[in-house]
Symmetry: C2
Subunit: 300 residues, 2 copies
Amino acid sequence: MQDRVSPASVTPALRDLSRDHRLLSLNTATVRRQGDLAAIIAACARAEIPAISPWRDQVAAIGLDRAVALVKDTGLKLSGYCRGGMFPADPARLAEVMDDNRRAVDEAAALGAPCLVLVVGGLPQFSRPGSAPSNDIAGARAMVEDGIGALLDHARAARMPLAIEPLHPMYAAERACVNTLRQSLDICDRLDPDRTGLLGVALDVYHVWWDPELSAQIVRAGGDRLLAYHVCDWLAPTRDMLNDRGMMGDGVIDLKGIRAQVEAQGFAGFCEVEIFSDHWWSLPMAEVLSTCISRHRSVV
Amino acid sequence: MQDRVSPASVTPALRDLSRDHRLLSLNTATVRRQGDLAAIIAACARAEIPAISPWRDQVAAIGLDRAVALVKDTGLKLSGYCRGGMFPADPARLAEVMDDNRRAVDEAAALGAPCLVLVVGGLPQFSRPGSAPSNDIAGARAMVEDGIGALLDHARAARMPLAIEPLHPMYAAERACVNTLRQSLDICDRLDPDRTGLLGVALDVYHVWWDPELSAQIVRAGGDRLLAYHVCDWLAPTRDMLNDRGMMGDGVIDLKGIRAQVEAQGFAGFCEVEIFSDHWWSLPMAEVLSTCISRHRSVV
């Protein structure tokens, strides 16, 4: 007769972050107002932050070749590249959408990113401005799935995994109509039933912490589909829907509890700090980075 | 051999709202800054709005007896009573929480409401201020279910159905940790497996329009568990998380599409307009009511 252990009684071995910040990655949007990507990379090197996840606009601003050279020279790793997506659009613009996304895949590959994060887009008039207004969110979702499906061939050729990021439901109209981990994994199951590793999810606690199905869907995802893990915090009250994310520890998210579940599935990647915040953008870059490091060691 | 008709090809007979506003109810929070409940009731009578859903604070401000008399004298119907709930709290305060909720049931019965709407509460420090801070949302959810379960006896004795209102996930911390229709119906199934009619849901399009499972969960609810239907619109952009709801037709929600699904389940109640909006609160009451009426007839 075997011992039976219920899932709740298993305490997964949480990785110890308290002694250093070897597992910290900085999403470069966190300090995007304080300097360009070259300045951010230099600051991360000084702070011994081992990894970043840069945004396309930041890369474009200094040039892809220079960004690649800086990443290589400093020995930084990447935890992702932000972002592809924004699939819903007028039919006449679909070629443009796919060109844009293929370029994102190529840039991610040039930079050595482990995955391209997909913010899939909301209704077409917001996803690709100028598209005809629509209130058909189911239609937008179908366009998203078609778009990801079409991008997979290019991603396969480039060996660049795509990480679908479910965004908080408050962004459903304007930014992403994929809003839960369940929905993301349903797409993965349909488009990549063989779990080739080419399609998975980017899990950002800000977007999913509230979900009553979070624990079950993390188990469903499994380590092979958990391609990225993002942290920040949910402030209560939240004063701005876009730019009032909290520093880890300043809000209500059970960060260690969620990380324990993610790591119990075998996730072994970086904890990527991504904070969109007028407050944190107003402070000196070095102060923000040192706060990220101390909170990473204490509360993440 | 029978004809087979797929669900998508069935066009349910949407009730015709275009010719009058017999199915319009006004949630009285919509004009709460323009006058007290007596003034709102008088304005609804003048505008031939047949039903209201009042809030407890508005009732308390003029006194329950006077509110009951005004409702009776004007012949208004109720589409609900707002609200019970706010269950998560320190253990020492649970008796106070239950007393408060039993009073809400009794007030709803005195006013002749068809259901008491439950906004279940978020984390205890926000649900019942002064409670110890917690980031245990699963614990808060357990407190909610215990609280509803405990309230059912009193609701049964008062013959007052309880309508769980799932609130948008952006309110999970501070207002309601029940955030999807699926989650609400899971609670209904556990606490009222025999579907006695005593427990159901209040479906507000603002809170649920984004949900990829909405259609399936409306079918699951069925007409007997759809106790109230609330309309407004989701503005894009939304400038304030609390008080920037849109007038029907001004946002991105597919109102007729959702109503068709609700009515296909047999829902035959009022369409209750509930708009929290600094903009609409700034306008004269009669103007707001006439806009509600015209939009009810054209876009709801």
